[in-house]
């Protein structure tokens, strides 16, 4: 599926400006690009998080589509319910048309709090797309660690100092967990590669059944970087294989982007304030080496899965 920006720009925007996300936030970019990919009317639900809070400050809404509020843990449950209700009403002849059902959640609302409802909705086989924008912490409530936070990151619940070098644990690989649900489409994308992201969203909307998209979303506040570099920063994280781009279609793993040269993760770590403590001590450098070894091991595993080795 070709991505033609000139054609896409003719469509009416589905997330307007005037929302209160930070300048340089990647989440609205991701939402705009994903909703651009759908040709049908959409119903959107969003888990509590930055995206929900900043786009729906009463009496305003930035959503130019049907939007439902719900709690932190049940975005997937709500949207799967909407889909089931729609199917029932359609059978009864009370509603017509065709809709896409989309749920958005941050990494807190997806990896941790909303995980059970997401897993349930995927298992029940609803025709819906779940999009996780992964910024690696609970940014909305003040940068607390989540299971998506990278090793060594400084957050308000894993503060770096004399006794600590930031988060001790490693990231949970949610995309792999979702692939293990044996659903028709699972993909990992990044805000830095818009063609890849829009094409994956188009592909997801063309498939019937449960779909999951995990998208890297830099957070200028929690990661502490200059808002201007949102896109190149995500690109470096993709190139370093920290966030590889791949898709799993009906159980077939496929890399959609293979970086030409693989920079060390230090390259993007030094641009982010949440890692700056690691560069000050020998212990910190040890943590970087551990994180690099983890990234390399996961990349090797992925290459083997995708049949690239």
């Amino acid at each position: 599926m070709a991505v033609n920006l000139k054609q896409l720009s003719q469509k009416e925007t589905r997330l307007t400006g005037g929302h209160r996300a930070c300048a340089g936030c990647a989440a609205p970019i991701i939402v705009r690009q994903i909703l651009m990919a759908s040709d049908k009317p959409v119903v959107v639900g969003s888990a509590t998080g930055c995206l929900e809070v900043t786009t729906t400050v009463y009496p305003y809404t930035a959503w130019n589509v049907n939007f439902i509020h719900n709690a932190f843990e049940n975005a997937a449950a709500t949207i799967s319910g909407v889909e089931a209700a729609f199917n029932s009403l359609k059978r009864q002849g009370k509603l017509e048309g065709d809709f896409n059902f989309v749920a958005f959640g941050g990494d807190g609302g997806t990896y941790d709090i909303g995980f059970q409802s997401l897993s349930g909705a995927m298992e029940r086989g609803h025709d819906m797309l779940y999009v996780c924008y992964d910024n690696g912490a609970y940014m909305n409530t003040g940068i607390q660690r989540s299971s998506a936070t990278p090793h060594g990151a400084n957050t308000s619940t894993t503060p770096a100092g004399k006794e600590s070098t930031g988060k001790k644990e490693y990231r949970k690989d949610l995309t792999q967990i979702m692939a293990a649900h044996n659903i028709p489409y699972v993909a990992q994308a990044s805000v830095s590669n818009h063609r890849d992201l829009i094409a994956k969203a188009q592909k997801a909307f063309s498939i019937k059944g449960p779909k999951f998209l995990n998208v890297l979303s830099p957070c200028r506040l929690g990661w502490a970087y200059d808002p201007e570099i949102t896109v190149p920063l995500a690109q470096q994280m993709v190139d370093s294989c920290f966030w590889p781009l791949f898709e799993v279609v009906d159980g077939e793993w496929k890399l959609t982007y293979k970086p030409k040269n693989k920079p060390n993760i230090e390259e993007w770590m030094k641009k982010q304030g949440r890692f700056k403590h690691l560069f000050r001590s020998d212990e910190g450098k040890q943590v970087i080496a551990e994180a690099q070894a983890d990234v390399d091991a996961r990349w090797e595993q992925l290459l083997a899965r995708c049949g690239e080795k």
Binding site: L8, C25, T56
Partner: protein, 101 residues
Amino acid sequence: MADNKKIKPNATAKEIPMAGIITTPGNAKEFKTGDWKTRVPVHIEENCINCLICWVYCPDNAIEVKDGKMVGINLDICKGCGICHNVCPTKIKSIVMKNPD
């Protein structure tokens, strides 16, 4: 259903739509976030190749496009993040960030 725009701050429960539903989708565009910015993007038309990369990456939908051509920047909602300047692929950037006078 009641119009959200007409709701006054001291409205009673009966004057507010049921469950606080917002009946005017996308009305956030009337909320001006343009005063957040410390730097102003300026579009230089002669360098622009209308690739629309700035439009697809603008988080605030501030890039105005008409018939596949970039026609300007809506400074009323632009927060001045500078992403458009950064992603602009032309050799001499078609969008530059300027400090306001």
